[in-house]
């Protein structure tokens, strides 16, 4: 893990009207790391992800990519560097898996070419292989399970060929087996891609993340390795709910305590 920051935020903030949703945040996303953002609903997790993706323009502060301000990069330039998998997506997307993943190649496609190039198809194949979904390639998206859908959306993001992968709640609505598959996938990508993910699953964060950022009310409450952030005291402050550590160590496992 090199300490070279891929993305740097300086006093980054976002407001809706007068209301401060996020910030100020000073954060480094290091090249090759997996950074998980945890925090209660409305803490600003998705806002942070959308800012880092470049979908939102910051109200305050600035964002730097490899030392270069985001503002100097074009929309397409950002897309070649950052791939985003949103949590909220249209319910029925009338495409096949292959068509969806090919659309991940959009930042690399040429407008005046009727057909994508061989290298685009090769990237699609590699991405599907990487996530273990090659057998799904001809299937329509309508009719895939939640876990399969999440997997192919991640494949589309991989096909985009971007260095940074931003995943919003990748395990939302997934059963334990599929959560485990997504975690295994992220661990396989470790070091190869930089990953920024928001999640409500603390044990998932503990399993996949090199560092965890605890957000509350738009501010960074804690930042550090899973063992530093996913502690009972920090979690209490973050979520205002009691947690119990059932297994300590580098990657702690916590459960929600039921006694008040």
């Amino acid at each position: 893990m090199s300490g070279d920051p891929l993305v740097l935020t300086r006093r980054l903030g976002w407001r809706a009207g007068d209301r401060r949703i996020l910030g100020p945040i000073d954060l480094q996303i290091r090249r090759g790391e997996c950074l998980a953002v945890v925090g209660p609903n409305g803490a600003g997790k998705t806002t942070l992800l959308r800012l880092v993706t470049g979908l939102l323009a910051p109200s305050d502060g600035e964002l730097l990519w490899g030392g270069q301000p985001y503002a100097r990069l074009s929309r397409a330039g950002l897309a070649r560097r950052i791939a985003y998998v949103p949590q909220v997506r249209p319910a029925r997307v009338p495409l096949t898996v292959e068509q969806l993943v090919l659309l991940g190649r959009y930042p690399h496609l040429r407008r005046w070419r009727l057909a994508p190039r061989a290298e685009d198809y090769a990237a699609v194949e590699r991405a599907l292989e990487r996530v273990g979904a090659l057998d799904l390639r001809k299937r329509p998206l309508v009719g895939l399970s939640g876990g399969e859908l999440q997997t192919v959306y991640i494949a589309a993001a991989l096909a985009q060929g971007s260095e940074l992968l931003v995943l919003d709640e990748p395990t939302a609505h997934l059963d334990p087996r599929h959560q485990r598959e997504i975690a295994a996938l992220l661990l396989r990508l470790a070091g190869e891609r930089t990953v920024l993910t928001a999640t409500h699953e603390l044990n998932f964060a503990s399993l996949v993340a090199d560092r965890v950022l605890g957000l509350r009310d738009g501010r960074a409450l804690a930042l550090g390795g899973p063992a530093e952030v996913l502690r009972e005291a920090v979690l209490m402050e973050l979520f205002e709910a009691p947690f119990e550590t059932v297994r300590g160590g580098e990657r702690p496992v916590t459960v929600l305590g039921l006694e008040a």
Binding site: A79, R80, R92, L95, L109
Partner: protein, 323 residues
């Protein structure tokens, strides 16, 4: 050959067949032998009346279908098309105002007014779609209905003020008809059709991406506002150009893309040519029916497409509810 490509070629073949056969049919059947022998009456009917009319129908149907396709994808709304969103109504209002206010208004005055009307309504819709709840199916359609009703009311008002001959001209034109003589209208309409279809085709990747949602499209580098401006602008201009010639013809843009998606899938690379050919053939056949079913009287083709389109709209609404 893959299925979508094959279907597009089949549609092209059907389109060509319609262009070749439809001019021969009508209230007065044409004798091929007489036509080939250079019979003057047959020749005049074929070359001056029927062929331009069929060609206008295929152009109009094609551009209406392509516009409907673009509207449905841009607003991610299965019921959007120039007619339901009021763009055709805006063009019609512009044209009617020109007919009333500019004494003996020439074609280009009417066309310019139709452009202005179509673009004005598009701008309103675009502004609405950029608001928080603007893209929800209900909001956009209700706005379209409100715009259409306002335009209709204003058109009625203008007609009320107009004298008898002008009123008749307006009413007849409002019904949507393709009764043209000669090729002037075709020359006028063709570049707009090419512009609209070309603009949609060039943006096929962006439109395909929009199927996966705006958030994902934007994150991949699609400039949504620019896309909407260019595609909506070009298709609205083409609809305005068509309305100036043929009046508002409804529901082609609704029916044709929906049927074609079942045949060629959702890739706009295939959908654009499919809509051009399929929509063209569809409207030419509708027009053939309209001019023969009550022969020698002619039904305006807009009446026929509306008769087909109303129930189709309801069917889509019910189908949408079931999902």
């Amino acid at each position: 050959m893959r299925r979508p490509t094959a279907v597009v070629w089949l549609l092209a073949a059907g389109w060509l067949a319609v262009i070749l056969v439809a001019p021969l049919l009508g209230s007065q059947p044409l004798d091929l032998a007489a036509l080939a022998a250079g019979d003057e009456t047959s020749g005049a009917i074929f070359w001056q009346l029927r062929l331009p009319r069929v060609l206008l129908a295929v152009l109009a149907g094609g551009v209406l279908a392509v516009s409907g396709l673009a509207f449905q994808t841009l607003f991610r709304n299965p019921l959007a098309e120039p007619y339901t969103l009021g763009v055709a109504g805006g063009a019609a209002l512009g044209a009617v105002l020109a007919l009333q206010l500019v004494g003996g208004a020439g074609f280009f005055v009417v066309a310019g007014a139709a452009f202005a009307g179509a673009l004005a309504v598009s701008a309103v819709i675009l502004g609405l779609a950029s608001t928080r709840h603007g893209l929800e199916t209900g909001t956009l359609l209700l706005a379209g209905i409100a715009i259409s009703l306002s335009c209709s009311a204003l058109i009625l008002f203008v007609q009320y003020l107009a004298d008898f001959t002008r009123t008749f001209r307006m009413v007849r034109w409002m019904m949507g008809g393709l009764a043209v003589v000669g090729y002037g209208e075709l020359l006028w309409l063709t570049p707009w059709v090419v512009l609209a279809a070309g603009m949609v085709l060039v943006h096929r990747w962006e439109l395909n991406l929009l199927l996966t949602g705006e958030e994902l499209a934007a994150s991949r580098g699609v400039d949504l506002m620019r896309l909407r401006l260019l595609v909506l602008g070009a298709t609205s201009l083409a609809v305005g150009a068509l309305v100036a010639v043929a009046g508002p013809i409804g529901f082609v843009g609704l029916i044709v893309p929906h049927i074609l998606r079942r045949w060629v899938g959702h890739d706009h690379l295939h959908l654009v040519p499919a809509c051009l050919f399929g929509g063209g053939a569809f409207l030419a056949i509708c027009d053939l029916v309209a001019r023969t079913v009550m022969a020698p009287a002619e039904l305006p083709v807009g009446v026929l497409t509306a008769l087909l389109g109303g129930p189709f709209f309801l069917w889509l609404l019910v189908l949408g509810r079931q999902r």
